[in-house]
Symmetry: D2
Amino acid sequence: MLTGEQYLDSLRKLNLKVYMFGEKVENVVDHPIIRPSINSVAKTYQLTEELEHEDLMTATSSLSGKKINRFTHLHQSSEDLVKKVKMLRLLGQKTASCFQRCVGMDANNALDSVTCEMDQKLGTGYHQRFRRFMKHVQEEDLVVDGAMTDPKGDRSRRPAEQEDPDLYLRIVDRKPDGIVVRGAKLHQTGAVASREILVMPTVAMREEDRDYAVSFALPSDTEGIFYIYGRQSCDTRKIEGGDLDVGNCMYGGSEAMVIFEDVFVPNERIFMCGEHEFAGMLVERFAGYHRQSYGGCKVGVGDVLIGAAAQAAEYNGVPRASHIKDKIIEMVHLNETLYCAGIACSCQGNPTLSGTYLIDLLLANVCKLNVTRYPYEITRLAEDIAGGLMVTMPSEKDFKNEELGKYIEKYLRGVSGVPTENRMRVLRLIENLTLGTAAVGYRTESMHGAGSPQAQRVVITRQANLEEKKKLAREIAGIRGG
Amino acid sequence: MLTGEQYLDSLRKLNLKVYMFGEKVENVVDHPIIRPSINSVAKTYQLTEELEHEDLMTATSSLSGKKINRFTHLHQSSEDLVKKVKMLRLLGQKTASCFQRCVGMDANNALDSVTCEMDQKLGTGYHQRFRRFMKHVQEEDLVVDGAMTDPKGDRSRRPAEQEDPDLYLRIVDRKPDGIVVRGAKLHQTGAVASREILVMPTVAMREEDRDYAVSFALPSDTEGIFYIYGRQSCDTRKIEGGDLDVGNCMYGGSEAMVIFEDVFVPNERIFMCGEHEFAGMLVERFAGYHRQSYGGCKVGVGDVLIGAAAQAAEYNGVPRASHIKDKIIEMVHLNETLYCAGIACSCQGNPTLSGTYLIDLLLANVCKLNVTRYPYEITRLAEDIAGGLMVTMPSEKDFKNEELGKYIEKYLRGVSGVPTENRMRVLRLIENLTLGTAAVGYRTESMHGAGSPQAQRVVITRQANLEEKKKLAREIAGIRGG
Amino acid sequence: MLTGEQYLDSLRKLNLKVYMFGEKVENVVDHPIIRPSINSVAKTYQLTEELEHEDLMTATSSLSGKKINRFTHLHQSSEDLVKKVKMLRLLGQKTASCFQRCVGMDANNALDSVTCEMDQKLGTGYHQRFRRFMKHVQEEDLVVDGAMTDPKGDRSRRPAEQEDPDLYLRIVDRKPDGIVVRGAKLHQTGAVASREILVMPTVAMREEDRDYAVSFALPSDTEGIFYIYGRQSCDTRKIEGGDLDVGNCMYGGSEAMVIFEDVFVPNERIFMCGEHEFAGMLVERFAGYHRQSYGGCKVGVGDVLIGAAAQAAEYNGVPRASHIKDKIIEMVHLNETLYCAGIACSCQGNPTLSGTYLIDLLLANVCKLNVTRYPYEITRLAEDIAGGLMVTMPSEKDFKNEELGKYIEKYLRGVSGVPTENRMRVLRLIENLTLGTAAVGYRTESMHGAGSPQAQRVVITRQANLEEKKKLAREIAGIRGG
Amino acid sequence: MLTGEQYLDSLRKLNLKVYMFGEKVENVVDHPIIRPSINSVAKTYQLTEELEHEDLMTATSSLSGKKINRFTHLHQSSEDLVKKVKMLRLLGQKTASCFQRCVGMDANNALDSVTCEMDQKLGTGYHQRFRRFMKHVQEEDLVVDGAMTDPKGDRSRRPAEQEDPDLYLRIVDRKPDGIVVRGAKLHQTGAVASREILVMPTVAMREEDRDYAVSFALPSDTEGIFYIYGRQSCDTRKIEGGDLDVGNCMYGGSEAMVIFEDVFVPNERIFMCGEHEFAGMLVERFAGYHRQSYGGCKVGVGDVLIGAAAQAAEYNGVPRASHIKDKIIEMVHLNETLYCAGIACSCQGNPTLSGTYLIDLLLANVCKLNVTRYPYEITRLAEDIAGGLMVTMPSEKDFKNEELGKYIEKYLRGVSGVPTENRMRVLRLIENLTLGTAAVGYRTESMHGAGSPQAQRVVITRQANLEEKKKLAREIAGIRGG
């Protein structure tokens, strides 16, 4: 396993082509806008070094028998699935942001079972290949970017029907030793902090979409791959020089648009190549795992937001007002309801053919559908408790200005004994989580990550077994026949 | 283990004093208003006889090593706790009502650990006694009524402060061989279908409330105990002679007011007698188990209601209208969210000192707090789908009337090919669950059973560890000190 | 104007054919199940006699210049529309039930403008005829049943496509002096308390549905018309002999299935006869007025339920607990939100061609859509405050029993100084409104009366002017072109 | 009346001391971060010049009989109150932001009636003074900043109890010709775009708080007053040089912290000076008017957000997907529910002693309480429809970069025929309203402006007349006595 430092070193050695604000970023690791998101990923390494977190942060590899970072693990039991959720909650608590490493973990686990079942059905040999890739990931303790979301163009058309055929990533050439692919993947969380990009199709496919049914992994700095960094709300506060207005100056999340400009993929790195009938299964399983993830990570971030709101109430002198307490209880209740679904879909997991455990798909989708709702309400309640000052406060530069600072110090003080700066800091943190860079992760990603709410509703319908429920009702009602 | 028939026979042998509509009920078991609730309890015996349900319905006794009905089991693992929830969901699905046997199970499990810890702390000898009682319960396969809720009089006053000292059940006399108690227990679910009444205090207590800190078990037909049957919405439809208007003519739930008129309790049946400092723990644990229960039983009833709504939509010819489908998905989603919490608090259970497993208290309270909300929304959606006919339909007698019946047959028909009666039956079932006898269980009991919502909020606050959350927030915000 | 007594006398003179529980009702006015609903209607007469309510309860006829009961008025200003809403809220407060007279008022106002516009477009002569009918209604101060809802059979098929052609009421014969109609109208609120039945089509229609585009008025005891009384939750409590368990022993609502068995309609009472292109307008306007109505009547009933919950809390000794106060504020807030929409759609009303004022259709539909939601939440909160006793209390007969009564008196007492009976009465009232006969009006009718929620959503979409909103957005976003 | 240009000129002549990012702003009017908010205010002048808006935008002065900008009007009828709400909705639609001029209008109207009633009760002479001030405001067509919110320090302490006595603005010296005041006002919307600052107390007060019961008006550039500009989410995007990433490059809102450093107020500008018993009335009326305002302005902004979401759905190719349509209907429904309360509290307004009309306080508070909820849900639904691209898109600079731009153009295209830039623009507008500068107005201000939700709940309780509701319930339930 790598330490946090070793991970940072490994990133420095990469030759990533990352663009931001119209320019190429020369030093990705130390760029002030990018660095907090890399710090979040680094935290997934650092916590393995702390004894109290070892049980959650590490696992014993089913491939090598060695102790590995759990983020590279193939889940071998429902207990593993539960520990995954707890690990993610812990990291959410420690970073108050998206730490970006689950996507790869979830992609790995999904591909493991799908390649196995594909081979069994079609006689292909993907599973062995994929397991070799997984051993490499575990040994090198790699961050993997699970790359699924295509641009999709006109949403009312299927991949092969788009005017521009590249709006879903596709195979443009087939060679003896590999394939050439073209396209883009959007919203790639943690892409610029990754060592590998693991590409998957983004929807169920039909025969005519065959060239789009492709999955493979490539080092993130492979020739032809480049990144355009996504801009977040308040991103440039990180280059203003201070630390107060940022709200969370240490950690953050990041997304990028990843472009594949006719990239060559060698055969040993291809895990699906035209088997369109398995695209849907891969999407469903990856999404299932990732919907489970949100029952951990967002809960951890929620813990920080609840704590911040409770702290702000204390600084305001009203921690015991009954309406404040009620709002905090409600935040806790909603947050733990999310956690319940994360835990439940895990403990109800079952082994797949490859031995890797899969979560309960119905409950994982229920989990994520709640995640598209409750963080918004938790956010609203936090803004209620925080008060308007959160968005009307003077800037850090005003506060640090000798002349103005004393007025701010005087007039923005809450309960006596607490420095005004503390109050400002906790309000800036709430701003960060509700409106700023972290709101991108806590709100928008809660909504759309791992699929938008409608996607969860579709799976829930499919998994709900309504016929059985109707039968139960007919029996009770004394109805014979249909 | 008893069969359903043996259970009914055992009830017939009891000499219960039950009153209803101002008169003594001569034959409790066959009274048409009571019988459906006894049928629900009997189902907890009958299902043990079906092979497919054996794993959920039975367990191996930790006391005797014998196979027992799970309702008499002391949970020995978190797997046991999970199976309990699944068993309750199954019974909810089969009876579409409250089957009344959980209260005793939950009381038994709570008392098992509390008596053990009380003995350890105070040097008392209650645990052995209680275990002897439990062996009896398991061997005879008894239904136990867990009796907690006192009348409480003026809610702003504690037990010892009430104008009438009997408004909480209390010890009125202490004798060498036992005690004499007086008081009442309200809302006693399944009391008239029980063989034993297990009394517990209903709130945390102080020194001055000592006489109220009492727990014991007595056969349900003990001298001095009598029952006034609670009336439910639409209860008398069951004595009208038909089966259609009842909605669910086979199963139901029941509650009674149980009065203890200076009842003698022999020493061997006393499990707490003045140890006020353990009253709170007993309430919290019993309530915790019972709040978990609702994550199973109400979900099962919800399954039937969802099925009934889906069936009604089909009979109306609109099963594919997008707004109907959306409402059904939402019902499923809410129902499974309840289930998630039931499962999560179970799988996160831990052993107590006595070896009996306790659920995660925070998550069990989150479970119940959701139960005070979602069944109401599921109900609302079901009424939306059902349409107004549910409450404006002619009576069964009109339908059976030769002259009127043909008009009803003609004009209340939905899609062709389905008898009008089927449509009426499914609507009457929905009425039963949303407004009728079963609404008492599915709505009001969801609200107040195992404690009203405010009780859950109090426990959630206590269990939420807000100090830790504030610390997380301060760390992220870069705040040093408080 | 009639007094309440005169109204009752006029009802007694009718020769209505009403069936209930398979038998013909001999004395409709004094039947204990029916009488409370007639009392509610009678209240619309009685309140005109009270000076303080004169301004709301009466109006000056635009047809005769005489003072009339506002229920027979054609609204001549937006002030009239506002007063209508206030009158309905008042009646809701006084009856705690559906008082059944708005449907006719709303039908009258809708037909007034639609017949006028139909005549102008098609050269027909319906408006004069209808005005003659209205003068009769005003002079005789008649209760009119506005009869719209057809059975509809298979909801996926239009009127002319149903297997049984009678599932929408239709013209089966055309004669020189009139037409013969056949069919049924369901959910007819107040039908058995009405003197006239005013029939309207229930959906927009096409050319092929011409025989279904029919509107007319007939005396309620016309040959060939008969009524099957709809059964409500807890209806038979009214024939048990007491008054406590009924909850609201004075007032109620009622619905009936009205069957038209080849009924002859003379020409002067026909207001639409085949003009299918105006069926949609009539439905939309009637529904619009009726959706406005709910912003008054349900708010009045809500006032009683809020009062009952506050009273119950007081009897329990907890009126000042912060969580109780919060729930009551929330109930008030939701109730007044409904009222706001009732008032807003009224004060934004506009004159139609006939001079009669029409509400703002968008806001009236917004009003009703909220009514399909908030009464359910108000209900839930009332059940929360009431506590479980509401559904587990012994019956009135137990309470009146000499022996049992003293135990009930003792153990169901709340704060001292308040008779136990008062507490039972207020809980039975809450039961009545949330589960019993009045729940049919307060819940199910709120959902489906004046059209189910999806019907409101369809109108809202049509009225929302999304193109204009998109244009606003494009302008702000600096988008040129589409 | 001034034109937009004349207003800007008048601002340029002011000598405001405004600080931002630690520095004094030299040219307030043309500062790129400030200018959009001044543009919004200017719009309140420009729209008076458009004939179609004349009826809403102007009024006839009750003081001079001249045509004036409605923002300077004293409302003379409930029709005026309704027009105010419609004017605010219009401006919300045109600016998609807070246009900042209502606070002064609402303060003026509140002071008008309060000074009149104060004079009558106490024999003071404030009303005449205030009317002279109002004539000046109307003649010069001035923007007035209504300054209410004090810093408040420890919220659990009253003004006179704070450790630092300046945490509520107070009189520090009384002179023959005036008073000297010290303190600060926070969250001052539009302060830097105002010509006058009208100060009011922020809470009800007692005898000992007398020095805090002070109201007066001063030119905004009076000696001793200075402004620290509040920073908003994404504020600095406005100085990046482009127009796309800003989302709304033309309009915005602003807040400032206003500091009063021992400022002299001449007698003729003092409208309350120690009359503590009228502080509460002034707060309640100002807040009432301002809570009404939100039923207009936020609805207008909501119209733009709904339009943007509908436009985004169209660009994505899914405008007809049923789940998208449903979400848009829901957004419209919630938005119009807000409007209903705005209209209802206006049309139910009544004259005060001074002749100026006051809104219905209960309904105005219901209005605002809904505003603390629905914009958050509208926001959530907009984010759902927009998709994740809103927060992961490359920057404008990337898009304008020749090399990168073509990839972005290619891969971020939606339906064919629509330039990618249009899609980016509409998403940036949604980002602006949900996370960016406008979210400060649409979310946080909706929550806390005119008082936080708990303040509304307190007024609702006071205005709800629960005693009357309990009486209604007792009558229906047949309860005699209490």
